[in-house]
């Protein structure tokens, strides 16, 4: 501990905690003050996150460890800042700020305690990304989930509560599985610190190996439920579609927590140092990812509702990430991390956008239209004299929304010129390069799945876009406040920036992936070599 820079690592957890507590104490009155505190906290979080990214990317200090209470390494509960966690904290800050500003226009008043819940959500997310301790991860997971229950049901109403009931039940079961997995790992490994556990993996006797693998698999299922892998991801589209727009935007990063934790823990526990268990579960991740892509693509095509379309595209992006991670190649993981950033920005923007587009439309118009299309019936109002003149001016708001929709479609389907295309290329190119002399069948499958899921997303987005903007335009142009259009524009601008700054970002994700695949640096930072004690567990 040498100065304030070292303490910066814990700020993303402490700051939202304080802001959230203050917001609860302030009560529901004094709107302006509350909004001011919430936005100030989110902006400060963004600044801190940017600083953390530059710290993590700086030379010589690749992994920063913050020991709570400055206990010695073996006892301490640690927060660990490396490239992956810094990147995710920054992403959380960006998405949090966007959702918060969006909510100021309208949604913050739809129910009680929106701002405190959002702050605790940010705290839980940041903590889950930063922690280096399995049990602490559980606690942050629960903070994050408890806040997300509130956010998912923000605004109330039968649809939200019904979806929320399923969401909570599924996540409570996942939390119990998490506990079982953690305690099995503790029982065999004798530690809860991820770094220590990883260091001990090689020394675990052969007869206990099956137990460790079982524990890790149960733990993995808990994270994969969160990541919505098929067949444990059925809860996702319904819950996200029912949630209010800013909540859905911030919820969409929750599924990425599961993926990041799987990525980190899998590489740490079952990396090359794990003797007999090296690479355990890799094929499962890849197969699960492929199944998720297939299910997500079908869901994208089958849906008739914009919000569900956004939910289904979360499934596609989860599947893509899992399949790419399961390959276990540093190059592919680097591409996957780039894809993760791009898809989080795109899906966040899309969830916000959906609500604005839906706002001016008659309820159920899109469902009716698709049904009509399917049965080939004409609408009654298709008489030529009723049709609006072709040169009728398009409302300005619709132009903005249409442009944003186009950007989202390009990003999600992975078409040039935006970052979605680069991301898919960054996953596919190393995958092809790694397979010298004949592609293994699984690689072919990943290749096909990635390209076909892009096609499915494109078809679905085109159909939804034509329906929303051309065939059944809103009865009255939606009123869009600058506070609502701004965050969407900012998220899409960041995605565009990701394309322009493709080189530096790819370098960052490559280095992040390289250090994830060689966790020695992480372990040595958490447990300084002289302090490494690998004693046998009784």
């Amino acid at each position: 501990m040498t100065g304030w820079v070292d303490h910066l690592v814990i700020a993303p957890v402490v700051l939202p905690l304080l802001a959230g507590t203050l917001l609860i104490l302030l009560g529901e009155r004094r709107r302006a003050l509350r909004a001011g505190i919430a936005v100030a906290s989110a902006v400060a979080l963004l600044v801190i996150a940017t600083l953390l990214v530059s710290l993590a990317d700086g030379a010589g200090h690749e992994v920063r460890v913050y020991r709570l209470g400055n206990w010695p390494s073996v006892f301490a509960i640690v927060l660990v800042l490396d490239r992956l966690s810094a990147m995710m904290v920054a992403l959380v800050a960006v998405l949090g700020l966007a959702a918060m500003v969006f909510s100021l226009a309208r949604w913050q008043g739809a129910g009680a305690h929106f701002h405190p819940l959002l702050q605790f959500q940010l705290m839980g997310l940041n903590g889950a990304f930063l922690t280096g301790d399995l049990f602490n991860l559980f606690v942050f997971f629960e903070v994050m989930l408890a806040a997300s229950y509130g956010l998912a049901m923000h605004g109330s109403g039968p649809a939200r509560v019904r979806a929320g009931l399923h969401y909570i039940a599924v996540n409570l079961v996942a939390a119990l599985l998490f506990l079982v997995g953690v305690s099995v790992l503790y029982g065999v490994g004798g530690t809860l610190s991820m770094a220590d556990l990883s260091a001990r993996m090689g020394a675990i006797p052969a007869e206990d190996r099956a137990l460790v693998e079982a524990g890790a698999a149960i733990l993995g299922v808990a994270f994969l439920i969160k990541a919505a892998m098929w067949p444990v991801g059925f809860w996702l589209p319904g819950t996200y579609a029912a949630a209010s727009a800013p909540s859905a935007a911030i919820l969409s990063i929750l599924s990425k927590v599961g993926i990041c934790v799987v990525l980190r823990l899998w590489l740490m526990l079952f990396g090359d140092d794990a003797a007999g268990s090296a690479g355990f579960g890799g094929p499962w991740l890849m197969a699960g990812g492929l199944a998720t892509i297939a299910f997500g693509s079908i869901a994208v095509l089958a849906t008739q509702d914009l919000a569900r379309l956004a939910g289904a595209s979360v499934l596609v992006s989860s599947g893509t990430l899992l399949a790419a991670i399961g390959a276990g190649l540093p190059g592919v993981t680097a591409g996957a991390l780039y894809y993760l950033v791009s898809s989080v920005l795109a899906i966040g923007a899309f969830f916000l956008l959906v609500e604005l587009v839906e706002r001016g439309r008659e309820v159920g118009a899109d469902v009716l239209a698709v049904t009509r299309e399917a049965f080939g019936t004409r609408r009654d109002d298709d008489d030529p004299e009723d049709m609006p003149a072709v040169d009728a001016p398009i409302p300005g708001a619709m132009v903005v929304l249409g442009g944003a929709f186009l950007c989202c479609a390009l990003l999600l389907a992975g078409l040039p010129p935006l970052s979605g295309f680069l991301a898919k290329l960054a996953i596919l190119a190393p995958l092809l390069a790694a397979a010298q002399g004949g592609l293994p069948p699984l690689t072919w499958l990943v290749l096909a799945a990635l390209i076909l899921s892009g096609l499915a997303t494109l078809v679905a987005m085109l159909r939804a876009g034509i329906e929303a903007f051309w065939t059944s335009p809103p009865v009255s142009p939606p009123r869009v406040a600058a506070l609502e259009a701004g965050p969407i524009a900012a998220l899409l601008a960041l995605a565009a920036g990701l394309t322009i700054m493709g080189g530096p970002v790819m370098r960052y994700t490559s280095e992040a992936a390289a250090s994830l695949h060689a966790p020695r640096g992480y372990i040595e930072a958490v447990l300084p070599p002289e302090g490494v004690t690998v004693e046998e567990v009784p």
Partner: protein, 114 residues
């Protein structure tokens, strides 16, 4: 003692899973509670089952890991109890809200059509 604890965990888990899969929200919440009891017992048992052993080694004395109750799983159980209690309470509130809003205690918010 191992057998009793193992059977206890097994029976609690079995009943919990069965109740969890039932269609009424009340059955689901009881199932979740039973499951969380089972998991708490399971965490507790990972420290090894010992009777009459101190969790802290005597000061100055030679420690022996065989005559020592691991305190960490007990601390974990405490945390797990608190968290699962709180989330179950939250689930109860949502359950009541769902009952009020949909008029039924079916988990899907509507009765199955017969």
């Amino acid at each position: 003692m191992e057998l009793i604890v193992a059977l206890g965990i097994g029976v609690l888990t079995g009943s919990g899973v069965w109740l969890l899969l039932r269609p009424r929200t009340f059955q689901v919440i009881i199932g979740l509670s039973l499951l969380s009891y089972a998991v708490n017992l399971f965490i507790f048992s990972t420290g090894g089952l010992k009777t009459g052993q101190p969790p802290i080694l005597p000061p100055g004395g030679e420690g022996n890991l065989l005559e020592y109750a691991d305190p960490l799983p007990q601390a974990l159980v405490l945390t797990a109890i608190v968290i699962s209690f709180a989330t179950t309470a939250l689930f109860l509130v949502v359950l009541l809200a769902a009952r009020g809003l949909t008029g039924t205690d079916h988990v899907d918010g509507r009765e199955r059509e017969r």
